[in-house]
């Protein structure tokens, strides 16, 4: 190991040990985008202010997320003796005084907010964190430091064997590093699963110079925030991973393309890079080895299609982010038409683990085909929206019932989306496993890790319109199949939703399914996946909408109407809230003008028993409907 790096790691470890044995309570607040949305900044400020007001001797710090987004703001408290650490959830600012009084002044647990014991013994009231259903079965490698270290401190990272993987890579030649990656079996983590080692080898054996690295952190799939968690909670993992890749591929410059919607991830990655420069880990003559490598954060500006690697490359180059025609592949002609390696955040972040602990250790979880761990986020109609890291292979049932806390309000799961708007929708086949193959077999894919569950209140046509509308908005506009096809699909679904469905619509949608695959890039090729899979998975629902003109979920605008059933409780409030003034008085009672009603449902929220949603077409006499054809 490089002597300068070794002494840096040793110093950091010493400082970490000293800090941990300060003899003071250590109160640490998780600060990331998810916790900030739930007021973690106010909690942190309240803890600081309250500790000062009560004259408490405590160390207040920040850390990344534990993944338990539904319990944010989360706070860990480590006892002054350093023997016991407890994780607390829902510590809102207003609870801080009683919280500090109990856990610091009185030195006891506060069971009503406690999630679990991280270090030390469980009690009758507070179980071990590892016994929490959310934590059971997880294998945390990328997430190992999360909840423990301060993501904005390079020393904290170094103290946890940070940059030791890079240190090993410094002692190896490029071919040996690539072999390590190939042996590990690391597959691309954005859904493709292409071996990362092969990609790195393309760059290593490329003939042109300079060569570039790109980290795809344009995590555009709505409902996925895996990469954000890595960048916000342990950004140096990505820096170190890219440094290892640069050694393997002889690259001198790397770009991290982060989407505009992740300002905190951008700030933390930038801080990590600045700190790495300050320590001589980046820049010229790194650690005295004579090797140069620069890393640049590139801020996106809101374009989903830039998540496609060639769109992303065009975007950095300064053009519109339109995907290029392949070949040539980025490995031959990427950034400025030079050889370029593009990997996802999670793929790079795994490289330090592989280098530190060996390929064999890294590959000892999951199965024959997929190796290592994968992070997933769960959202939609679930009780526990959160982020987990697990081996490949558990069933969807385990994901839903154990890690996602089951369906909201105990409703039945209707289906799920395995990874982004291009990945399709699956019926509630909860025996499917979290591996790549079953989805490929169904003509879809397990994407970047954002799994969205939905219950019976969901209209499948409305879901399809949402996904296709998204694809239409985000199409770059190059291929007619894509920008015209998605538009056409949205029009058809919208017409069906308005009550104008025709039996030929299914055929037309199927035609679109087969024609969009001729688009240039992934975006167009997979844009129709949700319709393709929904037609197969929920055929009766399409028939209901098209032939019976009925929406069982009472969502589709043209197939339902709102009417006043009784002049009962809440009806005046309902009339008042109506954003289009569709309520009018007739014979002393409220009525709804169907022409003005936009079916937003606000009135039904305020007067659930007085307002009813009716099937619009059920009231047309059967004979008239038949005569009308």
């Amino acid at each position: 190991m490089n002597a300068r790096l070794q002494s840096m790691i040793d110093d950091a470890k010493r400082a970490w040990t000293e800090q941990r044995s300060s003899g003071r309570e250590q109160v640490t607040v998780s600060i990331d985008t998810s916790s900030l949305a739930r007021g973690a900044d106010e909690t942190l400020a309240a803890i600081r202010a309250q500790a000062a007001a009560m004259n408490l001797k405590v160390d207040v710090g920040i850390t990344g997320t534990w993944g338990m987004n539904w319990l944010e703001p989360t706070v860990t408290v480590r006892s002054a003796a350093g023997t016991r650490t407890v994780l607390y959830g829902n510590v809102t600012a207003d609870r801080v005084p009683e919280f500090l009084q109990a856990v610091v002044v009185e030195g006891r647990d506060l069971p009503e907010l406690a999630i679990g014991v991280v270090e030390g013994n469980a009690t009758a009231e507070v179980p071990l964190l590892s016994d929490h259903p959310f934590m059971r079965g997880q294998v945390r490698r990328l997430m190992a430091n999360m909840g423990t270290i301060d993501p904005e401190s390079i020393d904290h990272y170094l103290a946890h064997d940070g940059y030791a993987g890079f240190g090993k890579a410094l002692d190896m030649d490029a071919e040996a590093i690539v072999k390590h990656m190939l042996d590990s079996g690391l597959g691309g983590r954005a859904g493709g699963g292409f071996p990362a080692g092969r990609k790195w080898d393309f760059l290593r054996t490329a003939t042109a110079d300079p060569r570039y690295l790109v980290c795809n952190a344009d995590e555009g799939d709505p409902g996925a925030w895996v990469n954000r968690v890595v960048m916000e909670a342990d950004p140096h993992l990505v820096v170190e991973g890219m440094m290892i890749a640069a050694r393997a591929g002889h690259a001198r410059e790397g770009y991290i393309y982060i989407r505009y919607e992740y300002p905190l991830a951008i700030a933390r990655m930038q801080k990590a890079i600045d700190d790495a420069y300050a320590r001589g880990l980046l820049g010229k003559d790194i650690l005295g080895t004579g090797w140069d490598f620069d890393l640049i954060v590139h801020r996106g500006a809101g374009a989903y299609v830039c998540g496609e690697e060639t769109g992303l490359i065009n975007s950095i180059d300064g053009y519109r982010g339109m995907p290029r025609i392949k070949p040539p592949f980025p490995a031959q002609a990427g950034l400025w038409n030079k050889p370029t390696n593009v990997n996802n955040v999670e793929s790079y972040a795994n490289a330090p683990m592989i280098m530190r602990n060996g390929a064999e250790w890294w590959a000892n979880v999951s199965n024959e085909k997929e190796k290592g761990t994968k992070m997933f986020t769960f959202s939609g109609h679930v009780n526990w929206p959160g982020c987990v890291e697990v081996p490949f292979g558990p069933t969807i049932r385990q994901c839903l019932e154990q890690w996602a806390g089951g369906m909201l309000n105990g409703k039945k799961c209707k289906g799920f989306q395995p990874g982004g708007p291009l990945s399709g929708v699956v019926t509630a086949n909860l025996d499917l496993t979290l591996t790549l193959d079953p989805y490929r077999g169904m003509g879809m894919f397990l994407g970047g890790g954002g799994i969205v569950f939905f219950d019976e209140s969901t209209c499948i046509l409305d879901m399809c319109k949402y996904f296709l509308g998204f694809c239409e908005d985000e199409s770059c506009g190059r291929c007619t199949t894509c920008h015209g096809g998605t538009q056409r699909a949205v029009e058809i679904i919208r017409r069906i939703q308005q009550g104008g469905g025709r039996e030929s619509d299914i055929l037309n949608l199927e035609k679109l399914v087969t024609s969009l695959v001729w688009s240039n890039c992934f975006h167009g090729q997979f844009a129709m996946t949700s319709i393709k899979t929904a037609l197969k998975a929920f055929p009766s629902e399409w028939d209901e909408h098209i032939i019976e003109k009925r929406c069982r979920a009472a969502v589709c605008d043209g197939l339902i109407d709102y009417s006043v059933r009784a002049q009962g409780e809440g009806i005046d409030e309902a009339a008042e809230i109506c954003p289009t003034n569709a309520f009018y008085k007739e014979a002393g009672g409220w009525q709804i003008d169907d022409g003005l009603c936009i079916r937003c449902g606000a009135c039904k929220e305020l007067a659930p028993s007085s307002i009813e949603i009716r099937d619009r077409f059920a009231r047309i006499p059967a004979g008239a409907a038949a005569a009308g054809g």
Binding site: T33, S34, A37, R38, N69, W70, E72, G220, P222, G223, A224, W225, R228, V229, Y255, Y260, E261, Y262, I296, H298, R299, G300, A301, G302, A303, Y304, S315, I316, D317, G318, Y319, R320, G321, M322, L335, W336, T377, S379, G380, H381, P385, Q417, P421, V452, F454, T458, D462, M463, Y466, F470, C476, I577, P579, T580, I598, R599, C600, G601, A602, E605
Partner: protein, 158 residues
């Protein structure tokens, strides 16, 4: 509304950027970070600085939804278009806000004091359905809560 910045001011602002170094988006970001939007004249300045054409800069600036060509409204509701919000009635919330504010998605009031913008999912799905009001999350909405929020915003500026 602030006056359009001068050419000189803009030239100084983007002086650090170089041609063929991937500096188109960083330059646009820097201008937008300073003024809140990308003024038309800034595109000419950036084009000259980067030795390229205004058309190319305009093409890039209009391709991305987060570059604005006009000053942002005083109060802006960003409506989250993500799936978790959508499943919990997000689309009905959008329609109700549009009807209340009387602006379409992507539009703003005539006096430029409030507007409605499309927001993308950033994974704060515990708060769904949500909007951001000037980038602060307002979550766990219902349609009626969203209407009251929009009425407050509209009322304040009347």
């Amino acid at each position: 509304m602030q006056a359009e910045p001068s050419m000189q001011e803009l030239r100084e602002l983007v002086a650090e950027f170089l041609p063929n170094r991937g500096h188109v988006m960083p330059a646009l970001h820097k201008v937008q970070d300073r003024y809140g939007y990308v003024p038309r004249v800034a595109m000419d300045v950036i084009a000259r600085q980067l030795s390229t054409t205004p058309a190319l800069i305009y093409g890039a600036a209009t391709f991305y939804t987060d570059f604005r060509l006009h000053p942002r409204p005083e109060t802006e509701i960003s409506w989250c278009s993500g799936p978790a919000c959508r499943l919990k009635g997000g689309d009905r919330i959008r329609e109700a806000i549009q009807a209340t504010l009387e602006v379409p998605l992507g539009g703003e009031s005539d006096d430029g004091r409030y507007g409605l913008h499309i927001g993308q999912c950033n994974g704060t799905c515990t708060e769904s359905p949500q909007v951001w009001v000037n980038e602060k999350v307002v979550g766990n909405l219902t349609v009626s809560k969203a209407i009251r929020l929009a009425r407050d915003i509209k009322g304040e500026s009347e």
